[in-house]
Amino acid sequence: MNIIALVKQTPDTAKLSRTLNGLQLMADGQPRIVNPWDEYALEIALQLRDKHGGKKVTALSLGRPEAVDALRTGLAMGADEAILISDPGLAGTDTLGTARALAAAIKKIGAADIIVAGRSAIDGNSAAVPAQVAALLGLPLVSYVAALKTVDTAGRSLIVARALEGGRETVTARLPVVITVVKEIAEPRYPSFMGIRKAAKAPITTWALKDLGLDPAALVPQMTWEAFLPEMREVQCEFIAGTPAEQAAALVTKLLEQKIL
């Protein structure tokens, strides 16, 4: 059983502060991390290999050349192989262009049984790419997986629990399958010292679009976008003083009078 973990390098949103806004954080040279949700994907990929008869974990990323750092984290955690898709033709691509390149790379890697990603990326947050990869590859998608209940390698199927808004859905899926995972799935391991040393020296394969047989013209998005900072809502805070009982009474009166409740 071969597993591919999709790993995205994202801005480190924990660094946002009153002196570093969103646009500044997106700029070159600002701190980058492995998309936090993808750490859970890497962890479960490694567990699938180590506990469920998997053979190989490939960490696959698409991004600028510096995204190799995210792949090195994957290698340091224990992935067997890492591949970066990087090409100037992908610079302004959308989720669909990203999914097309990832799908082509997954085909090229070949023989993947489980493709796993985090539930969404912390930057774009559209949760679109895994679903689009599944659609393009004609594979089932099982998203928001909170627990792997059964991995039946011989019967080529999985039973998983999904965390949805209204409760937990138990689903069987046949392999190959694309899954996305939520935090409950497993606690990501810390890379070991040896792992980090090994990862620092490990070769990372880089594929350009031509290596995937893709024409950059076919990946041009049918949309344009511009980014700006949200307007800060000017809220004048009305402080309500008094004893706790007085504060409570005054607040409820205001909420009811202003039909907020």
Binding site: M26, R168, F228, L251, L255, L261
Partner: protein, 327 residues
């Protein structure tokens, strides 16, 4: 190509989810801009009454697929149905609610149809045939303005509680057109074998009121008064990451960048200082009330009302007051 807007009616056992009528409002707004009609898609067995409800909520017509393979929600089955309808009757746009299911349905359909996608949008407009969407990115710290010129089909999912639910009229006419499922059962790679509903607490996502506790709550027991206030006001219980990471309350309650994004009518922040990562998940709430012992806490910059003091005194007093006044 038509100027019509296709809208997905999400439901649970043939009962419409609130977000469906919000998506209907978004679709109606787009249809007004494109000069087309809103056509709804209703999928699943025993959904005739739901199809009629879609007409009463503003759909000009409904595509109704009642095949048993469309029971529950399976992405491949639903996606292939929608992609087939888009190919057969190309609309100006397909709109779904940005629930977990709607997000993946819209993404899947966009990939199958080669269409541009704007996910989880908070605002929509039409100008010269282009659809313009606003969507928050980077945990709400950056807004992306997406312009999709068309004319080919554009795919959009709309964020919860940003569009008002479409009003229901009593008498509505319109065709309900039966359509076949696009996939045979054996072509679908998944089966739903069980569903265990979450405990009967109010879920954060659709809540009109959210009461959250932060670091100052101090421990698991400290959440008792916070939970009691949430009960008193009929709201959902939230928490900051600090409280979740400390193990005082399960992750399902986390509001913020690595938790849930909420936009209730009323958000009551108890003992939450207002880190940017928490604000990302709640600052679009219509009214924010902050209770904190530190008058300089950043949360007060976003709050409409501020109560400075000890949460362990104010929160119970507030619960009692709500019980008295709301009964």
């Amino acid at each position: 190509m038509t100027n019509d807007i296709l809208v997905w009616i999400e439901h649970t056992d043939a009962q419409a989810d609130t977000i469906s009528w919000e998506a209907m409002t978004a679709a109606a707004g787009l249809a007004a801009g494109t000069g087309g009609a809103v056509r709804a898609i209703v999928a699943g067995p025993s959904t005739r009454a739901l199809a009629e409800a879609a007409l009463r909520h503003g759909a000009a017509s409904v595509f109704a697929a009642e095949d048993a393979s469309l029971a529950g929600f399976r992405l491949e089955a639903a996606g292939a149905l929608v992609a087939g309808l888009i190919t057969a009757h190309p609309p100006a746009a397909f709109v779904a609610g940005a629930s977990l299911r709607g997000l993946e349905l819209s993404a899947w359909v966009a990939a199958r149809c080669g269409a541009p996608l704007a996910a989880d949008v908070t605002d929509l407009s039409v100008a010269n045939g282009a659809i313009i969407a606003l969507r928050p990115t980077l945990a709400g710290n950056v807004i992306s303005k997406v312009t999709m010129p068309g004319p080919s089909t554009r795919v959009i999912s709309v964020r919860k509680r940003l569009f008002p639910g479409a009003a229901e009229v009593e008498n509505a006419t319109g065709d309900i057109t039966p359509v076949q499922a696009a996939l045979a059962e054996d072509a679908i790679g998944t089966k739903i074998v069980g569903f265990e509903p979450a405990a009967a607490t109010i879920s954060l996502g659709g809540a009109r009121v959210v009461v959250s506790g932060g670091r100052a709550v101090g421990g698991p027991d400290g959440f008792k008064p916070i939970r009691d206030l949430a009960d008193a006001v009929g709201g959902a219980l939230g928490a900051s990451r600090a409280a979740v990471d400390a193990g005082w309350i399960p992750y399902a309650h986390q509001v913020g960048q690595t938790g849930k994004t909420v936009q209730p009518d009323l958000y009551i922040a108890c003992g939450i200082s207002g880190a940017i990562q928490h604000l990302a998940g709640m600052k679009t709430s219509k009214t924010i009330v902050a209770i904190n012992k530190d008058p300089e806490a950043p949360i007060f910059k976003y709050a409409r009302f501020g109560l400075v003091g000890d949460i362990f005194q104010i929160v119970p007093a507030l619960a009692a007051e709500f019980r008295k006044r709301l009964s």
